[in-house]
Symmetry: C2
Subunit: 341 residues, 2 copies
DNA sequence: CAAAATCCCGGGATCGTTCCCGGGAACGAT
DNA sequence: ATCGTTCCCGGGAACGATCCCGGGATTTTG
């Protein structure tokens, strides 16, 4: 199958040189005559020679592969992050192997095992929803393999992290709803074990309090199951004695489902209820009304995570650091109550 | 960094055995005493020994990695396909390296180079829009590395393929529009160099002709640029002397944009114009009206492609084959004119 | 002109694993 | 007692590239 592959030895035989000389010539070392180097490079070109990465990796004792573990690659946010990571990684002539935890702690643990077994030189991770205790990453850290977490991070581990400004983004989104005249704002929150869910919740709470609004715990919904439809909690929010007049959701999918069910009830958006989502899905602008959303720069997040990881790979003793990337509130009609006054 | 890794030699030294014996014991060969095997396995467990995949790969002369080249991973269809591929690949204890052509022929060529340089054991590919001539894959085929194409295929190469029933899907979708009373149906077509674009166009044409409708070439739009917004061609369709009363689009994103601009013009969907999309985006059901769409089983497509690839990897002489996977028309309100009669 | 420095290159070890080959011990059969 | 089997196991050569070491040939230096 790969019997016909050209090795350094083949070049050496044809030129009546030793493999060492050919190797040095290809590597551009100085202790080989310009003439010989020329011959070698020419033949290598001609025969379309590539060094076997596996042999190189064995010799160098590294895999030139980094691992990526994300909850779901068919989540556009993570797909974009992967794109950002790939840009950086390909510049370093590394490869990525990707795996999905499917939001499951068990699968995440298995993924970590696979990554370890594959001797990745570094790992980029965004945690599963279920992951409260992230100690299974310590096995990897103990082998001095660097890990960079992004977006879904956990405070229990002393590693580098890249996150967006969840607190500020959330605060800004809620403040925007308040500025548009909302007084009872609901928050569809993420699982509280995730750092960014908590930060967003804090931002929500602080914005409410800073503007002297009543912080009603019945307006805070923890969407327990990721795949769950928004119908139940939308209904229950609407059936409150004093239902919300604004909703800030953890992602656009929820926000869009909520809009759908609100419209089914005959209520108007944003006049009756204003909505802001998160992550700015590419289709969000085409809804009726177009959905306001916090745009989180997923690609940039991925790039930063990868860049940070390579710094760790290149310098073993680099202390962990955290990077925060600014998000951007995109205001569309779903939250523009002032437009209809 | 990985100096502390345990090798087979470490096990051998501790047990005063040779590396060969340890290797055979771990591999479960019969020619080693049950007692020794027991000791070896126990110590391996204890020291948390994993064989180094790089060394194994070098020895076995394969990488245990397959390559995936897709146009865009943040296209949900391809993300789902990747998920399907991963399921199969992980069962074979293989890994995937993923790359994106970004619909560019040049990048696709580079991706192929990278895959070759990385000695992938097989390749799964969905072609870029720009790719008319796919001869750059011949370099890989010449090394006897199997390739399976899926969805975006090309007839010029004698390899295995997995596609959906584009012709039938298209025919069914258009027939559905006709059944709902549409008489002037437009088709937003994909680039004609892609096999499935042509098949869909054929299905469209045949459905029109079989039902004695006039095949108006002005109703066939080739969306030249993938990223292009639907606004220009939607406007031009609407400004025809006799504008369409039904539109069958190449994907949901186009369909949704079209709906958006049609509604902006004050026209009603489906009463004035009925719409059917393709690929059934997860958000399509939440639009107003909910979008009818052809659901293409991306995950299954990925699985089949991977399974087929492994058959080729395991059997070098397996002749190329093609598999067709059935899609499914999901009818929602955007095309249900009969409901409003 | 001899000694030293310089320039190129080959030999061989190395990375960690697998696998072929062959050797020694135990055992039963002749 | 000798021979042929069977059963375990060790030695050593791969896999392909890199790199240290040292040696011969040429050039420079005193």
């Amino acid at each position: 199958m790969r019997g016909r592959r050209i090795r350094i030895k083949d070049l050496a035989d044809r030129l009546s040189l030793s493999t060492s000389t050919v190797s040095r010539a290809l590597a551009g070392h100085s202790d080989v005559s310009a003439e010989t180097r020329q011959l070698v490079n020419q033949l290598a070109d001609e025969l379309n020679y590539y060094p076997d990465p596996i042999a190189v990796n064995l010799k160098q004792r590294k895999s030139n592969v980094i691992g990526l573990i994300v909850p779901n690659i068919d989540n556009r946010f993570f797909a974009k992050a992967l794109t950002g990571i790939q840009q950086v990684v390909s510049q370093h002539a590394y490869n990525i192997i990707t795996s999905q935890s499917n939001e499951s702690l068990e699968i995440e643990k298995k993924n970590v095992e696979v990554m370890m077994a594959n001797r990745v030189d570094g790992l980029i991770v965004s945690l599963a929803r279920e992951t409260i205790n992230a100690q299974h990453f310590n096995k990897i850290l103990n082998t001095d393999t660097p890990i960079v977490f992004f977006d879904r991070v956990n405070e229990g581990l002393d590693t580098s992290k890249v996150v967006i400004d969840d607190y500020e983004a959330s605060y800004k989104a809620v403040k925007h709803l308040i500025d548009e005249g909302c007084r009872r704002i609901a928050h569809i929150a993420g699982p509280p074990n995730l750092f960014n869910s908590r930060k967003r919740l804090e931002g929500y709470k602080d914005a409410i309090r800073d503007h002297d609004l009543y912080l009603d715990k019945r307006l805070i919904i923890f969407a327990s199951n990721y795949q769950q439809d928004a119908k139940p909690y939308t209904k229950s929010l609407l059936s409150l004695n004093s239902p919300p007049d604004g909703i800030f959701a953890l992602n656009d999918r929820s926000a869009i489902q909520i809009m759908y069910y609100i419209k089914q009830e005959g209520l108007k958006i944003p006049q009756d209820i204003a909505i802001v989502g998160f992550n700015n899905n590419e289709l969000s602008q085409y809804f009726d009304p177009p959905l306001s959303s916090v745009e989180s720069p997923a690609e940039e997040l991925g790039q930063s995570a990868a860049e940070l990881l390579f710094k760790h790979i290149e310098n073993e003793n680099l202390p962990p650091s955290s990077k925060v990337i600014k998000s951007n509130l995109i205001v569309r009609d779903s939250s523009l109550r002032s437009k209809y006054l």
